[in-house]
């Protein structure tokens, strides 16, 4: 008891000192943070996955070179802070980025961390090492990366092919941890080793995944928690009820939907719930190789039949966001603002006028009340996919399109999309970093793996590069908006709306900040503590 108290006091003093005069509350050490999880994480290897199911629980095992300030809700280039790197410097034309690394950092298995580990990590991501990841979903982020070199044990340099000032934003994402050289990809999936504040203990499918405090964490005094336990509950209604009943300190990352939020607030009025933009958009993928959708006019008519406000009212209780590909302020940084958005085809709030125009287009192609176009709308068999698809089908009726829903068992969805075995699909796209480079190169660039529809536009490709090399935010924004508008009008992947959802916790959970423009960057949890 006394020992516990002294540790507690010591860390409190330490933290008060580190925070200076601004510290309001003394942090308490100890306790287990209990969080529910929505389903078994597919693996423990963040680099191989593109899902929160892995990222949220496993992010505390690792450190990045740099990360987004965990206490600031909006990620931008200005909120990037050091992590394993002590500082970073750019060369003149922003094509060489050099990091100085912390010394004395150790992996969880006791081996020392060096610059070689950084080189290994990005060599793996570029497929340059003999050991390979099974999957490498963010390869396209590093299209412009030439190589990474270790200048010494404590210094690394990223050599870019051309200037890319926002490159560092990618490295700050929760998706960019540094992996150890000496651990195999398989081990990283099943029993990951990092330098982070928590150590992996055990994963039991459908039951739990557990982490314990890294007693030798190189950031002194951190973390505050003794352990983090994620309990897996598949049924959303059950797990939210369990949170209300006090079984958990915290819900899964943005797991509380808008309708459920009302329930949580009524039943657990003390719970803190933050409704945030998730930067996950609900969108359409249209197979441009399949008639009649090889005709851009038909695609355009389809986009114009969509009543975005109806989607937002039904699915988001009026709270989700009308946007293009990028998330607009105040939640995001780069999205088109309302006045500009209205000028984009299909975004005019006068739905009847839009549909009138769309019907005219359809008529000119030979479709009318008696000769209706029959299509299938394919989507994943989960509610957040299925529900918007059902509404879409209803809207398509207004332009002489009879659509039938084809629900694809969730495990086959991406395989089907990859085979291009669909005409219209309803999809969700989440973005790891709120930066146009990540968005465009991942989802719209020619040849990118996650550019599902295979949209490829040489003119836009040039604009992608142009904005990528720009440093001035306002000037870059103008180019970005131009690109976004073109993407929407070409129906490259028409965005229906941008989602919002809440993360809730009981008030004794302190020092946790949810982020407004990405759900993938705020789960280090090293400074979270429990006031129990």
């Amino acid at each position: 008891m006394i020992r516990k108290f002294s540790i507690c006091a010591a860390s409190a003093v330490l933290f008060a000192v580190s925070l200076g005069a601004g510290a309001a509350l003394a942090q308490k050490s100890g306790g287990t943070l209990k969080v529910y999880h929505r389903g078994t994480p597919p693996s423990g290897s963040i680099h191989e996955e593109a899902t929160n199911s892995t990222l949220s629980p496993y992010m505390p095992i690792f450190n990045n070179l740099v990360m987004y300030d965990q206490s600031k809700p909006t990620n931008s280039l200005d909120t990037i802070v050091p992590d394993l790197a002590t500082k970073w410097t750019w060369n003149e034309d922003k094509s060489k980025l050099t990091f100085n690394l912390n010394t004395g950092v150790k992996w969880h298995d006791g081996k020392p961390f060096t610059a070689k580990d950084v080189v290994c990590t990005w060599d793996m991501l570029q497929g340059k090492r003999k050991a390979k990841f099974r999957k490498n979903p963010r390869k396209s982020w590093y299209k412009n990366l030439d190589k990474v070199t270790a200048d010494s044990d404590t210094q690394v340099t990223f050599h870019l092919k051309r200037s890319q000032p926002a490159f560092i934003a990618l490295l700050a994402s929760g998706y960019s941890p540094v992996y150890p050289c000496h651990v195999s990809p398989r081990k990283m999936r099943t029993n990951p080793i990092g330098t982070g504040p928590f150590k992996f203990v055990q994963l039991k499918q459908n039951e739990f995944v557990k982490f314990e405090k890294n007693e030798n964490y190189w950031k002194e005094g951190l973390p505050y928690l003794d352990a983090i336990e994620w309990t897996i509950i598949k049924s959303r209604s059950t797990r939210v009820l369990a949170f209300i009943a006090g079984r958990f300190d915290m819900t899964f990352n943005v797991d509380v939907t808008i309708p459920l939020l009302k329930d949580v607030k009524e039943q657990a009025p003390n719970a803190v719930c933050e409704l945030r933009a998730t930067n996950v958009s609900t969108n359409l993928i249209v197979n441009q190789d399949k008639p009649p959708f090889n005709d851009p006019d038909i695609r355009r008519a389809m986009v114009m039949s969509i009543d975005r406000d109806a989607f937002i009212k039904i699915l988001g209780h009026g709270q989700t966001i009308k946007s293009g590909a990028l998330l607009p302020p105040p939640n995001g940084v780069w999205g088109m603002e309302p006045e500009f958005l209205k000028t984009v085809a299909g975004y005019n709030p006068d739905v009847n006028a839009n549909r009138e125009k769309a019907r005219a287009i359809m008529k000119s192609k030979g479709y009318d009340e008696n000769n209706r176009l029959k299509v299938k709308v394919a989507t994943r068999n989960i509610a957040i996919y299925r529900d918007p698809a059902v509404i879409l089908i209803d809207h398509l009726k207004s332009i002489y399109v009879d659509a039938e829903l084809e629900t694809v068992e969730t495990s086959n969805w991406h395989a089907k999309v990859a085979r291009k075995d669909y005409s219209v699909g309803l999809n969700l796209t989440g973005i790891g970093v709120d930066d146009p480079d990540a968005m465009f190169y991942e989802n719209y660039a020619c040849g990118s793996q996650r550019n599902y529809t295979g949209y490829c536009n040489a003119d836009l490709e040039k604009l992608f590069e142009k904005q990528s090399m720009m440093e001035d935010v306002e000037a870059r924004k103008k180019v970005v908006w131009e690109i976004d508008k073109k993407l929407q009008e070409d129906a490259a992947r028409p965005i229906i709306f941008n989602n919002k959802a809440a993360t809730c916790w009981h008030p004794h959970v302190k020092n946790f900040t949810t982020m407004t423009n990405s759900v993938y960057n705020g789960w280090r949890l090293e400074e979270v503590w429990l006031d129990k």
């Binding site: 459920l260 109806a310 209780h317 509610a383 529900d387 209803d394 629900t407």
Partner: protein, 298 residues
């Protein structure tokens, strides 16, 4: 209970002295009040399914942003779901799906079961031996496990759900029909037919098949309710009939469960619909069994 046997009472109980169809009907109602109640419930569901287009006040698939999650009121007597679809209309149309699955899978499974059972019991020999092994295999898994694996293999659709549910029914029907056929083929009238030189096939169809109908009907009514429940369970687990079809089980699945407290009508009404339909067919099935299966007659 009396120590002596009242012959008149037993005769009356057994339905002696009942004349005409109407009389038979009245007798059935008096003798099996629960069965009659079940009959009425089942009839209601059948009518709802047949006249769904007329009865349902709304299009079961039409979404309506303004009515999202509205509580039961005059225009939506059982409320509306998240997408503003009328729950009452969906339940009425859902009766079609449930009946289609129930009757479809029972008929399909029953038909295959009867054919296999009849041939096994009548032909015997290697055919019987092989069929018995196949039936053993099919019975080595619980119904829901079998249906689950089947549904996952076939993919989600109305037709596939019917097939997935019908397959586990086959062995049960086949077993009963086979044992019945075995005892029938020793009967004098079958032997007489053989002596007259009737072909094997005709004997099986003309003499044995009609006599196996009673146990088949008993089994089929019992299967009907189990098929409806299995469909609901599969849909609940996400392997049944896909959206936007208004299947009762699907209406109760994950997305409805999310609103279990904010919009309880989404969970209560489809649940009542399933329970009532199954309850009705069960009551009716019990009565039919009592009527047709003399060994079980009380």
């Amino acid at each position: 209970m009396a120590a002596t046997i009242d012959h008149d009472a037993e005769l009356a109980k057994a339905g002696a002295g009942v004349e005409g169809k109407w009389g038979a009907f009245l007798y059935f109602c008096r003798r099996y009040p629960l069965g009659a109640a079940g009959g009425v419930i089942s009839l209601l569901f059948v009518l709802a399914a047949i006249f769904a287009d007329v009865i349902a006040p709304h299009d079961p698939l039409a979404t309506n942003a303004a009515a999202s999650l509205s509580a039961p009121d005059q225009s939506f007597v059982m409320g509306a779901d998240m997408m503003g679809r009328d729950v009452y209309s969906r339940i009425i149309h859902g009766a079609r799906i449930s009946l289609a699955v129930g009757i479809g899978s029972t008929l399909l499974g029953g038909l295959l079961g009867v054919i296999i059972g009849l041939m096994s019991g009548y032909l015997l020999g290697w055919f019987d031996l092989v069929m018995q092994r196949i039936i053993d295999i099919m019975q080595a898994l619980p119904l829901l496990v079998m249906a689950l694996v089947m549904a996952a293999s076939l993919g989600p659709s109305l037709e596939n759900t019917i097939i997935a549910i019908s397959i586990p029914l086959i062995p049960q029907v086949a077993r009963v029909i086979r044992s019945n056929t075995l005892s029938l083929r020793e009967m004098p009238f079958v032997e007489a037919a053989q002596a007259l030189g009737m072909s094997e096939f005709r004997i099986a169809i003309r003499h044995i098949l009609p006599n196996t109908m009673a146990p088949f009907i008993v089994l089929a009514t019992a299967q009907l309710s189990s098929a409806i429940l299995t469909e609901a369970s599969l849909s609940f687990l996400g392997l049944g009939i896909p959206e936007p079809h208004p299947s009762w089980g699907r209406m109760l699945s994950e997305s409805a469960a999310e609103y279990v407290r904010t919009a309880p009508w989404l969970v209560i009404f489809p649940g009542i619909a399933i329970s009532l339909a199954v309850f009705g067919t069960n009551l009716l099935g019990d009565a039919i069994r009592d009527l047709l299966d003399p060994r079980q007659r009380n």
